[in-house]
């Protein structure tokens, strides 16, 4: 499964910040499609790396 953002859409951004935001929305679309087409166990295992590491690092920094 390859991530192929709509480059024409991104180019419509007026500033670099806006282009970055549009690209982020394109990635969210890609990831939501990944979630839809893969077993819950699979995508959640990947997502948990982000979530659990934040909670662990917050606990260590207290």
């Amino acid at each position: 499964m390859k991530y192929k953002p709509d480059l024409e859409k991104i180019r419509k951004g007026q500033t670099e910040e806006e282009k970055n935001f549009i690209e982020r929305l394109e990635f969210i679309k890609f990831w939501a499609n990944y979630v839809k087409t893969h077993p819950d166990e699979e995508w959640s295992r990947q997502q948990n790396i982000v979530i659990n590491s934040q909670i662990e690092s917050s606990s260590q920094n207290l």
Binding site: D40, I51, I55
Partner: protein, 196 residues
């Protein structure tokens, strides 16, 4: 993931995160509540971190709050605003209060009473999310998308991104007529165009 709009139920077979475990453990102590906002996007796969989870409750009286307080205390949760239930109840009339596991301020539960039409709608139309052997009540997806777009009106792109994730994931399953009603009601047509 299985979504039955008729039964107002979603079954999710995800691997639980530490955040999910926290939410399930907390919600076991409550009856009338609904989980809202960012956590709804996260539980369905949005890949971002958060420090807190928003929860709305409907309380009959002070006694009901004290019962919840005692249950939470027994389950090793503490209010990080105050150790006095009287003071916490007073605060709750106007503000949110936060609960966490003892000695661990993150993650925490932002505990609020219902004060807005959107909160009332979420509570009245809540859906059951089944996670393994446990379940929690969550806000309907249509309201979550519209509400997040409303928060995004202030320029908060994280909220627009949350709405986008939910919309892409559920657009073929939700009640799109109801979503459009909520988009109109919350005056977020422009923001909706950004995520379509």
């Amino acid at each position: 993931m299985e979504y039955s709009r008729k039964d107002k139920t979603i079954i999710l077979n995800r691997e639980l995160s530490k955040l999910d475990e926290f939410v399930l453990k907390f919600c076991k102590n409550l009856k009338d509540y609904v989980v809202v906002s960012g956590y709804i996007s996260i539980i369905f796969g949005r890949s971002r971190a958060t420090e807190d989870v928003d929860l709305l409750v409907r309380l009959k009286d002070k006694k009901e709050f004290f019962d919840i307080w005692n249950k939470l205390k027994t389950a090793e949760f503490e209010c990080i605003n105050t150790s006095s239930p009287d003071e916490a109840f007073e605060m709750l009339q106007e503000f949110a209060i936060r609960f966490s596991e003892k000695g661990k301020p993150i993650p925490n539960m932002e505990f609020k009473t219902i004060k807005t039409r959107e909160g009332e709608y979420s509570f009245e139309n809540k859906i059951t999310l089944q996670l393994g052997n446990s379940s929690i009540f969550i806000s309907p997806i249509e309201m979550q998308i519209a509400y997040k777009l409303m928060l995004g009106k202030n320029g908060n792109r994280k909220d627009i991104e949350d709405a986008k994730h939910l919309y892409e994931l559920f657009k073929d399953k939700i009640n799109n007529k109801e979503l459009n009603n909520l988009i109109d009601r919350l005056n977020v047509s422009e923001e909706f165009e950004m995520i379509k």
